[in-house]
Every structure is written in C-alpha cells, then in structure tokens.
Symmetry: C2
Subunit: 254 residues, 2 copies
Amino acid sequence: MPISKNSIKFIKALRQKKFRQKYNTFVVEGDKMVAELLAQRPSWCKALYALPAWLAQYTAAEQRAWPFAAEVVSSAELERASLLKTPNQALALLEIPAPAALNGLDGRLSLFLDGLQDPGNMGTILRLADWFGISTVICAPNCVDAYNPKAVQSSMGAFLRVGVVTAGLGELLGAFPGLPVYGADMAGDNIFTVRVPPKGLLVIGNEGSGLSPETEQALTRRLSIPKGEGGGAESLNAAVATGIILGVLLHANV
Amino acid sequence: MPISKNSIKFIKALRQKKFRQKYNTFVVEGDKMVAELLAQRPSWCKALYALPAWLAQYTAAEQRAWPFAAEVVSSAELERASLLKTPNQALALLEIPAPAALNGLDGRLSLFLDGLQDPGNMGTILRLADWFGISTVICAPNCVDAYNPKAVQSSMGAFLRVGVVTAGLGELLGAFPGLPVYGADMAGDNIFTVRVPPKGLLVIGNEGSGLSPETEQALTRRLSIPKGEGGGAESLNAAVATGIILGVLLHANV
C-alpha cells in the first residue's frame, strides 16, 4: 500500500516545532539511526516507513513484537516523505521523550545550553554528551528545538540515551542553591591547567553573542580554552568548544 | 548599475569545484568575513558586491586603495547573486590562495585530512586550526574542497590565516621521512594521560569510515578520546574530535 498523501503531509509538517509539539512527535531518518532506535527504544516508535530490503533484516517475529505496523515503501515514496536531501532506507516517527528528571543535578556534571541556535550544533552537542556519559542536557527556552530534524540527524541517535529538558537557569539555581556554574570566557582560568570538580552545570552560549548577561552573572567559574601561538580565529565553534571543555573537565581535570 | 546577469551566473557557477578551479576563484559572503578579508588580505579580493549602507563604513580613500571597484547592489540583487539562504550585506570573489608551503613540516604540528567529506566539518576544522595556531592544513585529494561555499562559511575566515594544500600522505612521508603521524583510534593511548610531542601530522579521517587502510598503516601513534562512564555514542563528530585532540596535544600534553 503506498504511503498516503496525508501521511506525507503529516511528516512534512513535523519540520516545524509547533507541529512537533502539537502531535508530540518527531522524525528520525536513516539506516543506522532507525536501526538503533528499534534496538534500544522500540516503544518510542509510532510509525515506520522503510524500503523492503531494509525491513528484511528483521524477522517476521521481530516485526510482530513492534508496537506499530511497519509500512513498506518504495524509494520514490520515501523520497516524497523524507525531510532529508538524500533519504536513506527508513523513516520513523517517534514520540518526544519525557523531559529528563532534574533530581540529583548537584551530584553530576550537566550541560546548560543558553540560546544555542544552530540545529547542527545542538545535535553535535547531544552526541558528545552521549560520548562523555553526560546524562542530562538542559536547554533554556531560547534554544533551537532538540527535536528539529537537523538536530536529530547530527545527534547520531544521542536522544535515545541523553535526557533533554527545557528549563531556565533561575529555576535550576532555585532548586539547587550553590550549584557550580562553569562557562567559557576568554578571561577565565585556563581549562588545561586549572583543577575544578566535574559537577554542576557547564553553560554554552549562543553562537554569535555568547552568554546572556543573566547567565554571565550566575557563573561561579570562568574557563578559557587558550589560543595557540599565532592563533587568529575570534572564537571556536560552539560544539567544538563544548567538546574540549567537557573532555578536559571529565578526564584531565580531576 | 545593477549587477549583470553574467556576474550572477558566474557567482552561481562557483558553487561547483570545477568552476572554482577553472577560474581560480571562490566566494566569501557576509558582513564579518568580508570585512575581515578587506582588513587582512585586500589583494586577494577580485570583486565586491555590497549594500550601500555596508560600503559606507569605508571612506572614499579606503575604497580607492582597493585593487578592484566595489559594486553597490540592492538587497534584492544580493539575494539573486548569493549562495546563502540568508544573504548578508556583502559578497566578495577571491583568488584561491597559493597552496601552503610544506617546508619545515617536521618542526611543527599540522593537520592531515584524509577523506573528510562534510564541508561544515572542513570549515570548522580550519577555524580551530586558526584558533590553535596550526599554520598548515593538508588535504588528501579525496577531501571536500576547502573553498566550497559551506566550508568557507563555517571557517569564519580561517582561510585568511591558515595555509591549505592538497597532498597525499605518501608524498609527505617521502619528503619528511620519520615524520610522526598521530591518528585517532579507540584502541590508542588515552590522549588525556599520554605525553607526545606536538610535532608531525595529526590525521583526521572520513566522517563515516574513518582512516583509509594506507593511512592507518602509516600511523606512528594511535590516540584515543576515552568515553565517559555510561557513554553511549559510537563516535564523535570529526571536528569535535579534532578540537579535543589538538587542544590537549598542544596545551595539556607537553
């Protein structure tokens, strides 16, 4: 049965945050990520459209265990439904996961994203949180949506394992008074030589304007990634800076 | 005088590598990057199209000193010429810089990109080379072009300061026998605890398949970015991994 016009319309609407929120649904595409989804979180999946050859990797018994009926589609149909330039074998619709719980936030290191706007950076940051075992990423309300299709593609499936929640910094500090708040600042302590406990929040700001003044004021420690000799760039990409600080905080800096 | 149809056609053709190479020209767009270009390398600029308000930041004397005549364009014209979704005030055509010289390669740390395919990663890696003062980025012939418009946008102007050259690893090792070659490998030495001199080549592989077998064989040292406890991701983004290894090699690891 070909994929219906209404299904295609529904999938295309999920490009937009308002429809993702209205239907509590987002789109995941591509061989690897959909396979990972089915292996790790089949219950999150509400619909699956896939090429026959791709579906054939699952036995009939495996498919019967899924809480949805997979629909076999042709390449042409997948292309019509896809949000990608180059559709890739499978497309799934997922329930947006419940917001991550905030309890115990003071006992571990979490990321707080403040005005992050680029969906590729959002996904890349979720991916590196996943790599480094950071269980919670908190997004201020002014961030790009973590379930934006480009963010999802860049995350390489991190949303399956990393909890995401929207909250303001004031709210977090109200609930956890005295929470350490680390932020990047060129005038801060050299991340490679300072020793700070990997607990509290690591704050990452907007790609163009950095941290908001309120967040800036709440920092308890400023950390810098020093330039190399002769270094000319004005700044680092937000995801790259996050990776460097996280890696050093967690591994070198203890 | 409105921008001619031929100029627009010429600019659009520069999306493609074959035309960039044929005309030895690439496109740089946006307020910040074009301003930086005019401040640092005006002689590289062959043509400039800009909104009147943007051009007005330069005095008539400053404009006369440029080796090209700036053309004033309307927003609508800039939009027609631009390779960006959201054109931004100025667009310049630049001569592709001469390939970086390879002399002294054995006395410093350089990046060798092997099959890097994503233009955003290419630009982000040039930007972080710029930050860390890495003067030479060597691209194997199988890499995405460093002058691809998306790479240029992501580089934030790094191409103004970082030398790029295309060469194969065999050629480099022929010219510099015994050159240390570092590469990322999950089974390698922990980058946060091993001590290695920041000299030679740091090799970054393809986003999906990693290093080619020939490059893999040429590594003199394998370095790993260990996962955190409970870390789930299969890999890190190529630019993020480059940033972490470079930062640690240059700053913590000496």
